[in-house]
């Protein structure tokens, strides 16, 4: 790729993020509502752990604080993941709804730039929103991270964004395949990941087939690595296996996602699915 076309692609990459930032600014009231919703979801999981204590779960072997942190990590990471999923699927569905998708697809840019632009904004936006919710959760539950290795947890989180981009690209394919129901389909994918990835419980409690599915989910390794670092103080070296798996999954999932999106785009162009009326 020449320097000129590299500059054009980077410019377009920024253009997608900039467009989404303009949209966030225009819809700021709704963003406040969504932030409130995220906060409420995470806080209710925190109080669930508190509730377990009052329901008699607190005994010598039950560490309430640890259970609370365990569930909150799951809830926060799940909130982040579902937000990225929603943003990626919504970006394509939104373009279809507005009719601008034909203009985006006519632009002389690589599809991978388009998809990366959508995903990078979604990840950046998700991180900011999750961080705000985390601060509220820390204040509300007086979370103790004195034993945690924050640096290692951040490294796991950074590594988890790589397969997350791949998953988000797969999700963004759905509104291309089914203009009417594709966006809703992404909720089904999210729901399945929530079930099998050990968000609120260890994988060991699941039946074997679901455990196998859980081992194929990158979220499982992201949660495991972060919990190890935040609950048990696992260091970066301890987290290297999880980080390696996450990066390996990302290296497979991103090209696979781009390929599948390319297939869906060709299909849409063959069947005439790009126009707004579907």
């Amino acid at each position: 790729m020449s320097a000129l076309s590299r500059h054009s692609e980077l410019n377009a990459l920024f253009g997608f993020a900039e467009r989404s930032m303009h949209s966030v600014r225009r819809y700021w009231v709704w963003e406040v509502v969504w932030l409130f919703y995220s906060m409420v979801s995470v806080l209710s999981i925190g109080f669930l752990a508190s509730g377990l204590g009052t329901l008699g779960a607190a005994n010598e072997s039950f560490d309430l604080h640890r259970a609370q942190l365990y569930l909150l990590i799951g809830s926060l990471l799940w909130g982040f993941l579902s937000l990225v999923f929603m943003e990626a699927a919504f970006a394509i569905a939104w373009e279809r709804w507005e009719g601008t998708i034909e203009y985006t697809f006519m632009a002389p840019i690589r599809r991978v730039t388009h998809l990366m632009g959508i995903c990078l904004f979604a990840i950046g936006y998700g991180l900011v929103r999750t961080f705000v919710v985390l601060l509220v959760a820390i204040a509300m539950f007086k979370l103790d991270f004195s034993r945690a290795d924050i640096g290692a947890a951040v490294a796991v989180l950074a590594a988890s964004t790589v397969p997350l981009v791949g998953l988000a690209i797969f999700t963004s394919v759905l509104p291309m395949v089914s203009p009417q129901k594709g966006e809703q389909m992404s909720y089904a994918v999210q729901g399945f990941l929530l079930l099998v990835s050990g968000v609120y419980y260890p994988l060991s409690v699941l039946p074997m087939p679901l455990q196998v599915a859980g081992y194929a989910s990158p979220l499982t390794y992201a949660l495991d690595g972060m919990r190890q670092s935040l609950l048990n103080g696992a260091t970066l070296v301890d987290d290297l296996p999880s980080i390696g798996i996450l990066l390996g999954m990302g290296a497979l999932m991103i090209p696979a996602g781009v390929w599948v999106f390319g297939w869906a785009e060709k299909r849409a162009k063959r069947l005439g699915l790009l126009k707004r009326s579907g």
Binding site: G15, H22, S23, E98, E102, K269, R270
Partner: protein, 273 residues
């Protein structure tokens, strides 16, 4: 010899969908095929305005979408400045832009935000773009205080002007205009048509203008193709078509070629869609 702006060799496009026969059970559907273009052959030399005249459902928009790399033909080949729209799609996109019947924008964003987005996709940046956008919109007669208002607050005519300005911003060699004046009030329609005349006079661009406005085609186009049911029925200047088919107007020509009045055909196509 110069490379034609558009070269179409035997392009065919059909859309298939499953439909239920009248009275059949809800679960019993059969595949149906609607042919949008029947083996089309067409060459358009660079420069000037070529009009494609036809009622709804005649295949105009399908042709535009194929040239814009948004639809793939089932058979045949379409080339833009010698580049195949399927094999060389990325290069074709550098030459082409399109103004569609619906001014497709992010409606909550302002004209400026939409234009900046378009500019970035075509390698531009924010530096100097606002001045460029203001200049284009001023020439199109759009008040500059609308530049930062959400698109949804603009009238249909104003939105269409922003759509035209967006296509100018990317400096295309081939501008595909798919019914740009449909649904506009007479004043906005006149302004868009004046802009097209200005474009023809000032810019080195080939325009393919799809319209179902017979007067617009007669006034603006150097060459007119008359289409119906996915086929080209006639090709020439408006005067040549009238002379060849013995009609006083393009409406008469259409009636002689199809046996139907243009307006009647429009209504039938609308019922069918």
């Amino acid at each position: 010899m110069s490379i034609p702006a558009i070269e179409i060799q035997g392009v065919r496009k059909a859309f298939r969908r499953r439909e239920r026969e009248s009275g059949a059970p809800w679960w019993k559907t059969a595949p149906k095929e609607k042919v949008a273009l029947h083996e089309l052959f067409l060459t358009v030399e660079a420069g000037g305005v070529t009009g494609i005249l036809g009622p709804n459902g005649s295949g105009k928009s399908t042709l535009i979408r194929i040239l814009a790399t948004l639809l793939t033909p089932d058979a045949g080949a379409a080339k833009v400045f010698g580049l195949d729209v399927v094999a060389d799609a990325a290069q074709v996109r550098r030459h082409v832009n399109r103004v569609s019947v619906e001014a497709s924008f992010f409606k909550e964003l302002s004209p400026w935000e939409n234009m900046l987005y378009a500019s970035r996709l075509y390698g531009g940046g924010s530096s100097g773009t606002r001045e460029q956008v203001s200049e284009i919109l001023e020439r199109l007669g759009l008040p500059l205080d609308t530049l930062d208002q959400p698109m949804k607050q603009l009238s249909r005519g104003q939105q269409q002007k922003v759509a035209i300005a967006r296509s100018f911003l990317t400096a295309p060699s081939l501008l595909l205009m798919d019914e740009p004046t449909t649904g506009l009030d007479p004043r906005s329609k006149k302004e868009v048509q004046s802009m097209l005349e200005m474009l023809r006079a000032e810019r080195d661009v080939t325009v393919l203008l799809c319209t179902h406005d017979l007067d617009e085609a007669a006034a603006l186009c150097d060459r007119v193709l008359m289409m119906d049911n996915g086929r080209v029925l006639a090709d020439g200047t408006a005067a040549e078509l009238c002379e060849a088919h013995g009609g006083a107007t393009l409406e008469d020509v259409f009636m002689r070629l199809t046996g139907k009045a243009f307006a009647e055909e429009e209504e039938m196509a609308e019922v069918a869609t």
